[in-house]
Subunit: 139 residues, 2 copies
């Protein structure tokens, strides 16, 4: 990782941020919870805005990820790594049994480049409203 | 906007990408559809993965945005602008009548820095599963 200091504090480049997010997903996919924990700050906060659940701290969050039920296969579709190194976003496709879900994830980073905030969204499929069918196609 | 050329094509900095996303939201909030359209490429594609709806082209997409029912108030909570200038992500809080919803948006950009892809997610609230209450708190 390249550290580019500034008077206002430490700034991480988008390359370092991207690499950390990739390491986070690779570790989760491999069920390598030590490597997963190494991407996280000790005081990481995990938020689920849809259920308003929060998990505080690396130990609890690693346990949360480890205990998550079902056999999941996660494919990372896109990572957006902030040019100022302060954040990242990702889209994943998660297969849980026969279901394929899209998930969206936002990350923030501490001054050492570790993930100190994760916010996950799990958007569910819905039927399209009829009043816009004149403008849309289905895919 | 600053254009930093490269052999592989044109790369837009994260500052330019962020400014375009900010202009997109400001125009939507002001119902200024000319300014909204100016942020878009002619061949912009708008995707809603939850309903698998797609809107093709600037004209249709501006109309889609203009015709969207209800009085919406949109607050931009976070913009992540890719350091390589290829994409961006945003979180917004959208108030539609008495309801407040979180929305998530991904953007891609053409070589001239205009938005050529928008993907929106509308995650709905859900009740937390009981089997992880030992690790979570509510907020």
């Amino acid at each position: 990782m390249t550290e580019t200091g500034g008077e206002g504090g430490t700034t991480w480049g988008s390359g370092a941020v991207r690499a950390t997010v990739e390491a986070y997903w690779a570790a989760a996919a491999a069920h390598d919870w030590e490597a997963f924990g190494a991407t996280l700050a000790d005081d990481v906060v995990y938020d689920l805005p849809q259920s308003r659940e929060r998990v505080r701290g690396k130990e609890r969050y690693v346990r949360f990820a480890r205990e998550y039920p079902g056999d999941r296969h996660i494919r990372v579709e896109r990572i957006v790594a902030d040019g100022e190194g302060a954040g990242a976003a990702a889209r994943t496709s998660v297969t849980v049994g026969p279901r394929e879900l899209s998930a969206v994830h936002f990350f923030t980073f501490d001054a050492r480049g570790r993930i100190d905030g994760v916010t996950d969204f799990w958007p569910e499929p819905y039927d399209p409203p009829a009043d816009r069918a004149h403008l849309t196609e289905r895919y």
